[in-house]
């Protein structure tokens, strides 16, 4: 059972409240910081929200606890003018799952890469860059992976029109 030990580490770096809302955006619900979630109906055991600049620290915590990277993905919260990046991790022995979230403003979608910690993050970040236009600073090869090599569009943004 890795979760209790992880909780205190994450609490130290968790986001203190939601980022300041952009003018004109809908009011955001308060973001849970470090939340135990029932595996049976959420599929994850721990839900953590960290500031975007601390995702590398969060990935190091997961690496030290010997978690496996599951996936990285984004969610476009158009009404709140924010993009969310979700990192999913699994422990191969206990089966515990941790989701780490970070929110970034839509007009400056940048956060650091974790591909130097988890090699598998390289492709997941490229895919997230393809779909959402999120820039992972320090990524060694942030070129289109699934989209055509000259693609300038980001199809999973909610304001995307074909």
């Amino acid at each position: 059972m890795k979760i209790p030990a992880l909780k205190s580490k994450f609490e130290a770096i968790a986001a203190r409240g939601a980022p300041a809302p952009v003018a004109g955006a809908e009011a955001t619900a308060p973001i849970p910081l470090v939340l135990d979630t029932p595996h049976a109906n959420k599929g994850i055991d721990l839900d953590v929200t960290v500031p975007a600049e601390r995702v590398v620290d969060a990935a190091k915590i997961m690496d030290d606890a010997k978690f496996m990277i599951e996936a990285i993905t984004g969610v476009d919260w158009l009404a709140e003018h924010q993009l969310e990046v979700v990192y999913d991790f699994t422990h191969v022995e206990s089966g515990e799952r941790v989701a780490i979230r970070a929110r970034i403003p839509r007009d400056k979608p940048e956060l650091p890469t974790i591909s130097h910690i988890y090699g598998g993050a390289n492709w997941h970040e490229r895919e997230t860059h393809d779909f959402f236009g999120i820039i992972f600073t320090g990524h060694p090869q942030l070129i289109p992976l699934l989209l055509p090599e000259d693609a300038k569009f980001h199809p999973l943004r909610k304001d995307f029109t074909a």
Binding site: E93, S94, G119
Partner: protein, 372 residues
Amino acid sequence: MSTDAQSVLNETFVLNLGPQHPATHGVLRIKLTMDGEYIVDADPVIGYGHRMHEKMGENRSYAKFLPNAGRMDYVAALFNGHGYVGAIERLAGITVPERAEYIRVITSELNRLSSHLLWLGAFLVDLGGFTPLLYCFDDREQILDLLESVTGARLTFCYYRFGGVCNDIDDDFVAGSRKFIARLRSRMPMYDAFVTKNIIFRKRAEGIGPISAEQCRKYGATGPVIRGSGIAYDVRKVEPYSVYSKFNFDIPVFPECDCMARYKVRVEEMVQSMRIIEQALDSLPTGPVMAEKVPRTLKPAKGDCYFNVESARGSFGVRVVSDGSENAYRLKLRSPCFSNMSLFRECSEGMLLPDALALLGSLDLVIPDIDR
């Protein structure tokens, strides 16, 4: 040594493997930088079969996305369907009748057998042995007939629904499954003599294509790849879903980390799948195969959840975010082949090209599953 001679020694060339190549089993391209027969760098170029399933998940209702699920990993389509309906059932709080869960396990495991049989034949073709393919396809054909009788399809199954399955299985299916298992079991010693003990195959597979347990963890490689590296990670055991916790079965693990270990994992898994199917057929409960009162148009409450199944290739995960409407706000499909492929660049460095092709074959890639 003169600088001219030095530059000749350092000379490398770029070799395109694919996008049309028999060993890639689909439209996969690998940009190889070669030093003679040795790989200096292998950069996979993917996305040729990209269809943006995740966007399709957002612009149609939950039920209308069901056929899409079977078109990612088309060799083991039922698992994708299981992962998708499982995620939506978890989000919407739908309870599935027990008989339907048993049917899901039986059909999924049959699909795993057919997928592994196809892999076995194709892997041997990659290594230059053609004949096993014919035997494998003969066996696989029996499974497709069985699944066709109940799902109506032979490849891109769309059989699971939110709350159950769309058709009940009948006595013919049960009898046919038992007959098939007896047949496949009697043929396993033949495969063993034919392939496992074949010295040419063993020279091509033993000690070739090492993938360490640490690499699996860093890249998220799952399924037979991680179990061939000595880690007993199987979603069916580690986080049991459906009714898998009711059956006795083992998770085959081999610590050698090579192509042979991944081969042995899959062959042993076929034996275990047969065990699961037999137990499920023996204890098949009666009752409905669909939950009552599943609304025609699903509108799960706001929120998100994650659901994983153990597909034939590893952990297939679905993250679904709902905003309360009849379409998903976000549907993330985590495919096992994507993660298994991503470690190829690191693992193939310094390998001989023919050995790298053995490694590629042992990963059991389905390209549309990578590209989605």
